[in-house]
Symmetry: C2
Subunit: 451 residues, 2 copies
Amino acid sequence: MNYERYFQENREKHLGELKELLAFPSISCLSEHKPDMARAAEWLLNNLIESGFENAHIHQTNGHPIITADYLHAPGKPTVLVYGHYDVQPVDPLHLWITPPFEPDIRDGKIYARGATDDKGQMFLHIKAIEAILKQEGELPVNIKLCIEGEEEMTSPNLPSFLEANKEKLSADFVVISDTAFLETGRPAIPTGLRGICSLDVIVNTANSDLHSGTYGGGVPNALHALVSLLASLHDKQGRVAVEGFYSDVPDISPLMKTEFAKLNYDEEQLRINLELGALYGEEGFSFIERVGARPTLELHGVHGGFQGEGLKTVIPKEAHAKITCRLVADQDPEDILDKMKNHLERHLQSGAKLSIITGVKIRAFNIDPSHRILQLAADAYEDVYGVRALFTKEGGGIPIVEAFSRILQAPVVMMGFGLPDEKLHAPNEHFNLENFDKGLRTMVSFLKKI
Amino acid sequence: MNYERYFQENREKHLGELKELLAFPSISCLSEHKPDMARAAEWLLNNLIESGFENAHIHQTNGHPIITADYLHAPGKPTVLVYGHYDVQPVDPLHLWITPPFEPDIRDGKIYARGATDDKGQMFLHIKAIEAILKQEGELPVNIKLCIEGEEEMTSPNLPSFLEANKEKLSADFVVISDTAFLETGRPAIPTGLRGICSLDVIVNTANSDLHSGTYGGGVPNALHALVSLLASLHDKQGRVAVEGFYSDVPDISPLMKTEFAKLNYDEEQLRINLELGALYGEEGFSFIERVGARPTLELHGVHGGFQGEGLKTVIPKEAHAKITCRLVADQDPEDILDKMKNHLERHLQSGAKLSIITGVKIRAFNIDPSHRILQLAADAYEDVYGVRALFTKEGGGIPIVEAFSRILQAPVVMMGFGLPDEKLHAPNEHFNLENFDKGLRTMVSFLKKI
């Protein structure tokens, strides 16, 4: 049993396989990539079988396929369910990528591709770590179940019903997910909270036709004016969300939590420099870590209307669009927040304009107690490999499925991430640091053997 | 000499030629249409020669070609310079066109195509009216010069220098332009004022990369938030432009002008119904006609940033864009207004965001006295054909070149339009009413013979 030698000897093979997986343009939210999703799922199925998993199966859903597999030969031992996702975000703006997003490229010890860190690279660690134990020891110290989905980047519309329908088959003592990041290089973190999310699309309409701004300018409503003033009304000058009642289910940050946050010793100035910002920005009276960890937020993800081409088109646009999400904390109810948003938008709409609102995802925040045994074992495993114990944090992002696993399978969820905060997930030039690929394999072996 | 019979016998031929002209996708502001611009210019050259014009010539410019031609065989008689443009606006959103924008289609007595009313159809009237006089009488009652450009829809960047360089060659007693509209069917109008225009593009940048809204949301500036709050700050709640000093060179509307406007008896309710609006919108305390005729305005023509595709992408965009113009009246100086806008935008920018501003066109407003002889003759000509005298109005739009002709050639400019206000210029399903095509030919013959 020499894992160090095994992982060294198999490094090229592992990276070759990862490159194959990253080459699939498995963008779940764009329907033209449906065939790529199916091909990626097929590839994973074969890789799982070759890695020694049993009962590998592709499940069709109303959206993209879910893959399950298991290895259940440790009677009396705990069962661990590993979750990951093989779908990725869109790649635009494409011209900002140094190498094409679906032609994985290794440089400076990093592998560049869409999905490298979110989540193909991290998910792949589990498959190879489990294969390693099987190859080295002929058996696993625990029972393993795998559930890999293809709709995480579109907030997993079909996974909850799949979990409900397969509650028995997927039952586990713990759920393990690797889809989060370190605090920084060499400083692993285990999130004990995730923000929830709710989303809505806003469309403002004015006249029944685009109009010439010479003939009509100043005398008719302009859909863009109406939209920007509506969107601007969503925040006040202090960076707070101005929607009435938005914060009513948000508790003050407790003194204990303030202490935990302080322990992180987060370097805001370094973040500002990394992002090349003149200043950070957010709700007054809170640190960056508090803002993204313990405070809700409302973000605009896309706005468009009117002419966007080269040159000048003196048009008064008849419609304008915006995409908005709110990140939620504590007991905020997505339905309630969406209702409050709708009320606000309707009340602030300029006269002469019409408003359409389409609501989307609705996911509550998730929290787990850091003193839980499985979280402590995970921290031990990191310590074995990285020499430092993982810190317990609150994560600003949502992994919509975490709350669903916790609720439907009634199992504690431990998030063991191996990404880094600057790996450009959801942006051009996404990458995954190979140091964490290598150490991640070793950490997962250590973790599974500790359980 | 029977013009009625001549125009009836040649109607099919004229419409056939117009369709050929409208079929060129001569969109000046999109560089991929440069070859179409050249082909349209070539077609016009040949049509002018066939119509009896002399000295027809295509002049290359730094942008798109200018066509000139003349017929100077009326010694001692006045010289009339006719201006028109053969370029058109972009066609998006293309899916809203009932028939393709460059496949002219006649239905319900209207010809549908991009450029039908603005300005190919109206410009073509002059060529065919002059051809008619030549064919019927063998000579013209005046000297005629023609100047047709291809950059009006991009605010004629090369025409002023062309006019300067050819001041002698193009010198005239009057300039005639048909690129405006009636008040409504059967109610011709002669604009005695045009608003000026200035434009700017605004780009807001925040971080050096798009960021994930889970990890960063609430803790970093969002380029879209910064942009929409900046854009919303440009107007107050009463529909006035909130840029400091914006109105300082705008005089109150004089009692005389108020009377002229009242004479138009403009039906705002009908406009509201035509545009299917819940309400008109604009600066408080002014009528629609006053707002577009005598008041300046600031309009957003395009805004974009972040994700615009199908589905949800939880990105914090690093940049966002807006296109803005101001329509100007009276003595407003475009340079001065642009400076005031820049000051305003810089002062209202959210911390953590960077601002880039690119200024564009700068054209002053234009005014002419309605008692001028040539304007009275034009009104007479309309009366001959339509049975009603044209009213003198202020036009909200700019024809950038009008101010340039007036200034460079030192000649009075008379605007004899034949469009209708609802002909969707700059919008999908642009068209030109053939009643005004037919009567326009007769009006121009009458006008030229009166001079």
